[in-house]
C-alpha cells in the first residue's frame, strides 16, 4: 500500500511523539545523574593527621590511625521521620545497654548543623575503650559520626578527633 497523505500525517505525528518521549527520558536521566553526583555526595570529614581513609561499603567515610583509633560517618534515612532528640535518644538507649555514658554534649558541625555528642566508655577485650557517637539530623537523613578506640591511644588524640568530628560535611 502506498503511503497516502493521511497515512503520512499519521506517520509524521507518530515520529514527533517518539522524539519527544526520548527527549523527556534524556532530561530525566540527566537530572538523576546530577542529583546523584552533584547535590547528594556522601558525608565525610577532614581526616586528622596520622589517619588514613578507608574505602568500604559500611560507612560513607571512615579513617583510622596506626593505633586503631577509628572515625566513621554514615547517613541513614530519617525514617521514621524524627528530630535530633528522637534519634539521639534512640541511639543512646540502645548503646547504654553495653556502654557507660560518660558525657553528653551539644555540638555544632562546621556547617552549622546542631548535633548531640554522647561519649561512652566500655571494657572491650579486657581494655578500656572510648566510643563517641555524634548525631546530626539534616534534611531527610540522619548522620551518625562515630569515633572510638583503645583509651590508651584514643585519649591522646582527643583534640584531633573532636576537630574531625565537627568538620563533618553532611553532603
Amino acid at each position: 500500500m502506498k503511503p497516502t497523505m493521511n497515512n503520512v500525517k499519521k506517520n509524521s505525528k507518530s515520529h514527533e511523539g517518539r522524539a519527544m518521549n526520548h527527549f523527556a527520558q534524556a532530561v530525566l536521566r540527566l537530572v538523576l545523574v546530577l542529583a546523584a553526583f552533584g547535590c547528594a555526595h556522601p558525608a565525610h570529614f577532614a581526616t586528622p593527621p596520622g589517619f588514613v581513609s578507608i574505602e568500604d561499603d559500611a560507612y560513607d567515610f571512615r579513617a583510622t590511625n596506626a593505633d586503631g583509633v577509628v572515625l566513621g560517618v554514615r547517613a541513614m534515612d530519617n525514617d521514621p521521620e524524627g528530630d535530633l532528640a528522637f534519634w539521639a535518644g534512640a541511639i543512646d538507649r540502645r548503646l547504654r545497654q553495653r556502654y557507660e555514658a560518660v558525657e553528653v554534649l551539644e555540638v555544632e558541625a562546621a556547617t552549622g548543623t546542631s548535633g548531640i555528642q554522647i561519649r561512652y566508655q566500655t571494657d572491650h577485650g579486657g581494655r578500656l575503650h572510648r566510643y563517641w557517637a555524634t548525631i546530626f539530623v539534616h534534611g531527610d537523613r540522619v548522620y551518625l559520626v562515630e569515633a572510638g578506640g583503645d583509651a590508651e591511644f584514643f585519649d591522646p588524640q582527643v583534640a584531633d578527633v573532636e576537630e574531625a568530628v565537627l568538620s563533618v560535611d553532611l553532603g
Binding site: I54, D56, A58, R62, T64, G68, V70, G72, R74, M76, P80, G89, A90, I91, R93, R94, L95, Q97, R98, Y99, T122, H124, H129, Y131, A133, L144, E146, A147, G148, G149
Partner: protein
Amino acid sequence: MLGQSDAYGGGPGEPYQDVGAATDADAMGAEVAASTVTNPPATGLAATSGEDASGDAGGTPPNLVASTVNTVTTRRGGGGDGERDPNDPIQIPDLPAPLLIYTADMRIEVPAGEVVTTIERIIEGAVSFGGYLAGRTDTSVSVRVPSRLFRESLADVEQLGDVKSRRVTAQDVSEEYHDLDVRLRNLRGLRERLESFLARATTIEEALRVQTELERVSMQIDQAEGRLRYLRSRVAFSLVTIHVNPAPVVVAPPETTVVVEAPTPPPPARLLDLPIQWLNDTGLGRLLDLT
C-alpha cells in the same frame, strides 16, 4: 526415823514449818477435852532425860536445855472423880517437845564490789545473835546461830541484799534422841552392875572378864553421849548458809538503729524497640571492624 520438812519460797518473816509440834498437840488433844498448853515459845529442846547439859559442847543456851514442864489447864465436862478447878494446872511430866535441826540456805544478790563487806556483816550479825562462823568461801558464808533466834537471823540477812532464793529445812531428831537417851540410861545401869560385879569378883579370870565387858559398855556409853551432844548442838544452833552473789551489771541496750531497707529499684525501663536495623549495628564492634 527422822522427820524432815522443807519450806520453800516463804516470804520474809514467814514462819518455817515446825514439824512434829502439831502431831504432839493433836495427841494431847485426844486426851484432853479442852486444854491450854503452855510451852516455851522458842524452839525447844526438851531435855527430859535429866542429862546434865552443863557439859555440852557448843554452849547450848539454857532455855534450850531446860526441862520442859507442860502446864495444861484442863476442863472436863461433868462426872468422873470430881470437878477440877480450871485454874489448877495439872502436870504432864513427859510431854516430849520436838527436837528440830534447822538449816537455812539463802542466796542473795548485792551490788558488785560489796560481796566481801556483806559477808563480813553476816558474820558480825551472827556473832551479835550469839552465834559463830562455821565456814566461809569467797562468795558464801555459813554461820551457826541460836535456834531461838533463827528467824531473827534470817530476817537480818535478808536486809543485806536482794533475796533470790531461800530454803529452810527442819529435821526432826526427836526419836533418835530419845532412843539414845533410853539406851544411855540402860548402859549406865549395866555399867553400875558390872562395876558391882567387878568389886565382888573372886578370881582374876572373873575380874578380867567383867573388866572387858565393862570397857565395852563404857565405850558404848561414850558413843551414845557423843551422839547426844552432837544432836543437842545441832538442835541448839541452826546452820545458816548464805551465798552472796554480785548483782549483774545492767548494761543499757544500745540504741536501736532502724535500718530501712532501700526500696527495691524499679525494673529497667522497657527499651524502645524500633524496627531500625542500623541501630543494632551501632557501636565499637562495627566501627573498629576494618576487614
